[in-house]
Subunit: 571 residues, 3 copies
């Protein structure tokens, strides 16, 4: 599928607009236009909550009000974005569809039973109809079923989306299509989904000015409230969204001030809205769009931030800040449509995540930390202003000089082969513990971990040990090691017993179970190198490690010098 | 409805009595009478758990044992209180009743859709039959529906209660009727319900001698276990219960010692039962009644405190303390039926609470603190022995010199008008942040907060910001301000940006988002004054603030001088 | 029933073996035999997960593969253990069975209503069909129902097990039968169940090297990770399992390294597997068996420890340690079948536990601590290398010199009589607070606690008070008391007001509610003594107390001298 282009003359500025809530107040609809111009807004998303206004009774449609709103916006030079819904379904139709999907995938039950390893706990299926979706009241411990159900949900969501796209294409063949993604939402493989839309977009509700323990993706990364750790995490999501289509994306929703459903609905401080909006643009967004233009009088989000408050005038701090940003975005019109060239990539793969987090061990109850690991590595690149793509198993690794591969638990043979080719041609790979454990069926690799990556890293991983949250181990750099830095560092959570099979040992563990065994290795493979970190190490280590690796590899950076902590440059 | 009078010759002393558990032990029933006299008991509640003893099979009734018990009590000079059940129901009949109730209330669906703001998230109803009660498996985010369902539950409970009352009235037209209220139970609007009974009563299971964090209404207020904070909270509930009918109430249940279902079932220390019982009497109770007279041998509350233990004799500490209290209550017979005249009132409104706690923002997950705010303000009056009524939107404010109005989020036009009249005639009003936000349909006020209270407080509230649990802001009193005290104080949880429109600024915030903006204001309105607190302030502030306000307003106090912390006088 | 004997020529060494997962890999099945010999394994449990391999379709059985596996093992000198399933069921058939069981037990509803005290909260039953199992959507607060349901579940489990045993007996009359018990699993009365099997066995998944708060039976006992407290707990379970049949038992499952489903799946450190395995043997196990022989490629436990890893060779730490242990077990062949003679016993009764933990008060939400109390007392015996049986109400107490009876809340008349006889003939009994409260119907004893034990302990318990987690009280030993030690000690959680009726007071509480009342008493009863501890005391007290009691009673010890803390000898 060839993607339809956006072709924007300027950056979009605006947000979700719900005139259907104010159809009996033409004075307010008129005031909206005046205020939009005052706020420097040139784009509005309409129809998001309008289903019942568009089809008030089954089969009775009313489009007149929408036509009128669109005409009015158009007459005032404001572009329009349109919308619709979806969700996770376990109705009998979807269960049937799941079974058909499995039948297409496996052909026969013998293969399915084999690939799902149903002999464990005597789970064998003798009829397709015996297979139900994973459920807390049914089967939840069959990893193959869990994984395939997640794959199916992505497939079915795309199927539904394609039906909607076809209806649009029938009347407007060149209209670009997007869907509101939700950052790193676990439930859908966004790389798969991205192949079916023209433009990627996402809704950013980052919890700026947050503090306290990290309890959700929307609360602050750092217990001390240093917003730059959260800024780095949001940078990761921007880069991920941009990487989905490898071109500019849209920031489809964000809040001008409070996000009312967070535990503590803190207001954005002066300047924060401009800062977070321009961060999106710097990472490749061609828009700054808000939820919402005007606060509704009722409903779940009546206290969510908006450009126009219940009070209704321009005389307030939030409106003034939005309007000022509108002016600055207008000055940046030339930025629209411009791209970025990354020479470093982080591997973040949905199937890997599903499989690893669905398994039992070596740490459970959300303690595994896959995404946290990706963010930790990303942060070291972000703080050195390295331009980064976020990629999955489908990537063309040859585009990059450096690929970071944290916890590559599920590793397909072909991905491993392409990574080996990337390194052999001169690339640098950074991998970690708990890699190469299962194949694409979630079956453990026999013959020694990290499975197909074993020759590439030049080692065998014998055992992995889990640590309690407050436990630490230490590693010490070998004298005169190739990384060029020395000293001792701390490890936490997970550490592995590794036996070199050609790799050079750069650091060793100091004590306990794996005393004296390698903690950091590097393997020369063809013209390139593959580093292997056998434990989850502290920030001091990662900082020193990437300082060394980057000085060697030299991928493209937005700013050539190191900046103070908390500051990153992005192009 | 004219309320039937209690006409008690003495304070009631006694409790729940379950002779139906001991019908095969006439020796125990006889012993009960001897012990009741020994304990100075003159009233027993019977029939509470007796349904299956009274109707052992559908339609077969056995009243003989009850007649015999009542005769025996009567012959020994002991009065009798009788009882029955109720609950929250979502059966098809109740769902139909809900729809009819809505139809009566709204007339047509257009008005209902408008008042519930169903356009948000496309929730519009096109048939009455589409409306179901709020449910975790259905609709939970439609605030108007939530609010009306709560109103309906109160209405239906009254309807059921009225049917029971009618049956009683048919045979005993002058018998006063009550129902066991549960303090500040969220689920029923007790002010509404009180209009349908003759006497208010409640069950007090305060967690005396408690400590640790406050996890429920029954655990201690104070992390250090200072029981006087809990005493003040219980004082609030006593005052609330007395205010429901504006006359003496009944303490219908309390424990003589342990409450067995609390996490830690601590015994009442020597004297605690007398102290907590006399507190009730001082606040207007005409009774001290216990759950339970005698411990049952089995069942969920077999270890709940009782006057008579499993051991069965009078030879134990608890019995001796109850008997001693019986003697003291007999000496206080003249107190029965006497009233209290309050000149200060705290506004505590169930609809306001439902709407505010049902909304999302500015703090969620139980962090809003409406009731806690009411208790904080009440404590400052309680510790100065000010006699206080607890009132809601129905109150005649002209009875008072001082009305405290914490977080009046839902404010009807007519209540606002009556508050304005109260102030204009010389009354003093103390209001706070997050007031005047929605109307009675839970729809946000347009045109600026605090909506209809804006002229009364002489200001506009522009933004409200939420703070994390450990965050604090400071405010500093203006030099020579009208309250007559100076210094800096801390705010927490919530603070608001306020713009004076005639109000005088008494204090300002020191730093961060609202630096320099007003923290405390007062507005002269007619002959009176309206104070506005723009943030939730610390105890030091409230103490100084109320010392100043009370010295000006001089409402009736039970003791003219300030007493040491932890001591309060009540009449 | 006469139990079938095991007659083992050596200690069993081996584990769960699932060749059904590898039927398409004859090379692996052959390799298994080679590795088993290398690891010193002489026993394998087969068929555990094999149902779907044995009956791939309803009614179609395939035994050929199993025959072949058993033949191959046999040919190589490896013994075989076979297996099957069960569970908690509330299907209509089981509900009917429950009603029949109740009808048999009670004869008529009058007796059932009486014994269950259904008059409380008006729960009376007028038809057998009205009785349903306890359920969170039905009845959960009828203690008599709860207790009888638990009794019934044990009965029904035995009934099912007997049916399976009968099928085996029909072909192999002399084959000994066992079932995998789970330590102190709450749901089944193992003493009852043990009467229907030949050999007791259990699965030990102790969380060695654990730390942090104790959150489940499988995490470490001690917040500082001192494994010997956990070792003592596991010793208790070994002793319990041995006591069930009063002869050697089997350690049926254990892990050679990680337990993958624990929150943190820590590896067993070098030597830990040998240590924990030999502990089992020292306590009377005739086997060391693992879950699992070889790691499966898929399934819930694919990362659970195993003798053979995914890698598949003998070249790793875990395999080497298992093989080394195999050699040591072979040297201990003479130990198989040998027994132990205990002169001290701890009373641990399932019905008592069900009743006590099902009741409300004096501490709830899992704060009662019955099992913890048993472990605390056991630890004092364990650290002095005293050989201990764990017994319940069925025990012949005359076998012992010392019986420890913590929290004997449910005490039947006949058990009390046998305990009195035991003491009167010279035995020493140690009892505690919260004893003798209910009879076998869970009905409170009238006339004073500890009910039937009152003459034996020579005192009456008047009140029990609960303390908050951080609260402490102190007790001081009487000058020149019979225990021969002095000083002050701390109490926590629970303390009781006790009035001596013949008992001698050895210590008194210092302050608060029970100041001056007895904290420790001893009563001379016939030729023996009964100690009563009125509070849960600190380790210092228990240590001094048992030092004194043991020096007097002198029960059999595996080592005559006191060993350093953390070291215990066992025979």
């Amino acid at each position: 599928m060839e993607a339809k282009a956006l072709r924007l003359p300027a950056l979009l500025h605006g947000g979700d607009y719900n005139p259907d809530q104010w159809l009996d107040r033409p004075d307010i609809l008129a005031e909206d236009i005046r205020l939009m111009k005052l706020a420097g807004c040139n784009a509005m998303s309409v129809g998001i909550f309008a289903w019942s206004a568009l089809e008030p009774r089954e089969g009775r449609f009313e489009f007149a009000w929408l036509d009128s709103v669109i005409d009015s916006l158009h007459a005032n030079g404001i572009s329009v974005i349109l919308a619709t819904p979806s969700g996770d379904c376990r109705c009998p139709l979807c269960v049937d569809a799941f079974r058909s999907w499995l039948r297409d995938r496996y052909g026969n039950l013998e293969k399915l039973n084999r690939d799902w390893w149903t002999s464990f706990w005597s789970h064998g299926f003798s009829e397709w109809e015996e297979i139900d979706p994973p459920s807390t009241i049914g089967e939840t411990m069959l990893h193959g079923l869990d994984l395939d159900w997640k794959r199916f949900v992505t497939w079915r969501t795309i199927d539904f989306m394609e039906a909607e796209i076809a209806a649009i294409r029938a009347v407007s063949p060149d209209l670009p299509v997007t869907t509101n993604l939700m950052g790193t939402f676990e439930g859908l493989d966004y790389f798969e989904l991205a192949e079916h839309i023209d433009v990627a977009s996402w809704d950013n509700y980052a919890g700026w000015h947050g503090r306290g323990p990290r309890t959700s993706p929307w609360t602050a990364w750092d217990p001390e409230g240093r917003d730059w750790r959260l800024a780095s995490e949001i940078g990761f999501v921007h880069d991920l969204t941009r990487s989905l289509k490898r071109k500019p994306f849209l920031l489809m929703e964000s809040t001008p001030s409070a996000t009312n459903w967070q535990p503590v609905a803190k207001l954005k401080r002066p300047g924060m809205n401009a800062l977070s909006s321009l961060q999106a643009v710097a990472h490749g967004s061609d828009s700054v769009l808000y939820f919402q233009w005007r606060k509704s009088r009722g409903g779940f989000e009546k206290f969510h931030g908006a450009v126009v408050d219940h009070e209704g005038t321009e005389d307030n701090r939030v409106f003034r800040e939005v309007a000022e940003l509108g002016g600055r975005l207008a000055e940046l019109a030339d930025v629209a449509g411009t791209g970025t060239r990354a020479e470093a990539a982080i591997y973040f793969d949905w199937e890997n995540r599903w499989a690893m987090e669905g398994a039992k061990g070596p740490r459970n109850d959300g303690l595994l930390g896959y995404k946290e690991d990706c963010l930790d590595h990303y942060y070291r690149l972000w703080r050195r202003s390295v331009t980064v793509d976020v990629v999955d198993r489908r990537a063309d690794f040859s585009r990059y000089k450096l690929v970071v591969l944290p916890m590559a638990y599920m590793m397909r043979d072909d991905t491993a082969a392409r990574l080996a080719e990337f390194v052999s041609l001169g690339g640098t790979l950074v991998g970690t513990y708990w890699s190469g454990i299962v194949d694409e069926h979630d079956l453990c690799r026999l013959g020694g971990f990290p499975g197909p990556l074993r020759p590439l890293f030049g080692l065998r991983a014998e055992e992995i040990d889990a640590l309690y949250p407050d436990e630490r181990r230490t590693l010490t750099m070998e004298k005169g090691n190739a990384l060029g830095f020395e000293g001792s560092f701390e490890s936490r959570h997970l550490w592995e017993a590794v036996r070199p099979e050609g790799a050079e040992v750069l650091a060793r563990f100091d004590a306990d179970l794996f005393a004296g065994m390698p903690a950091v290795c590097v393997n020369s493979f063809g013209k390139g190198r593959a580093y292997y970190l056998a434990s989850r190490n502290d920030e001091r280590f990662l900082d020193a490690f990437y300082a060394s690796v980057l000085s060697e590899v030299r991928p493209a950076r937005a700013w050539p010098d190191d900046l103070p902590e908390g500051v990153s440059a992005t192009v």
